[in-house]
Symmetry: C2
């Protein structure tokens, strides 16, 4: 990183690294980061290739990834052929988290399966497994409650702001 790199560029690269850390392409993170700090509301495909100095193929593929995740959205303007992209206003954090929480479920099933297969269910290892299973059952329930709570909170806020109008 050159020292005179501006804070936006730095932000974009950091976003890329973060995405990489969670198993997504760096370029997808760069696009996401760029959309965050762009002074425009929506950015064209062509601007992305130019701003991020990336090939069309890379932008094309990574834009699709971001759309699938639900982080960004394609929009078009009448009388124009170009496609523009912006952070998806409809992104559902709850749904997004729910998908990530499914890993817990999967892991719990793995523990349960292991427990079932143990020859002696009264030893330390079995106890350990039981404890882990209990924890995951408990935390999954609680997380569901939490997400429902948030959903209602949002619902209420929406009604409020509608009432104000």
């Amino acid at each position: 990183m050159s020292p005179e790199m501006d804070s936006r560029t730095k932000h974009i690269e950091e976003s890329g690294i973060f995405f990489e850390n969670v198993g997504l392409p760096r370029m997808a993170g760069r696009i996401f980061g760029f959309l965050m700090v762009s002074d425009k509301q929506d950015v064209s495909f062509e601007e992305l290739t130019r701003a991020l100095k990336a090939s069309k193929s890379s932008i094309s593929n990574n834009v699709r990834i971001l759309i699938n995740i639900g982080f960004i959205k394609a929009i078009s303007h009448s009388g124009e052929r170009k496609t523009y992209y912006c952070l998806s206003p409809e992104v559902d954090w709850v749904d997004y988290l729910k998908k990530r929480i499914q890993n817990f479920e999967h892991f719990r099933k793995l523990l349960e399966n292991g427990y079932e297969l143990r020859p002696d269910k009264n030893d330390d290892t079995s106890e350990w497994l039981k404890y882990g299973i209990d924890f995951y059952i408990w935390i999954s329930e609680r997380l569901d409650d939490l997400l429902e709570e948030w959903r209602q909170k949002v619902e209420k806020t929406k009604q409020n702001s509608q009432g104000k109008r």
Copy 2:
């Protein structure tokens, strides 16, 4: 998979695939799965290489990974040079989850940084960022509460079982 593969082998391989899906080596998952369903309380290094048909280097590296994560533990028996491994009885699910939750914090910081860098903080994108930031602040707090709740639950159970003795 041959049809006559027994359920333990199947479990071990499934564990391997699961680990792979969350970004860890398949072999680490196999070891974890094997320790789950082994009829022994602890398993030697050599038995792992034999049972999983893997090289010493692979076992060595992946055992270290599992120890670092905190999933398994090395133990030794007096009068013996061999090292044995078992599912770590001290594994702290709470700590484990906390580490995974740190990703949320990191992501929130990314959103906050993006928000700070926006030229116009009154447009839709900024609103979107603010909403996301709020959500992550809220969920982080709630998760901390949850983990604390679980910790206390465990504490209580421990006291109970001690009282019974």
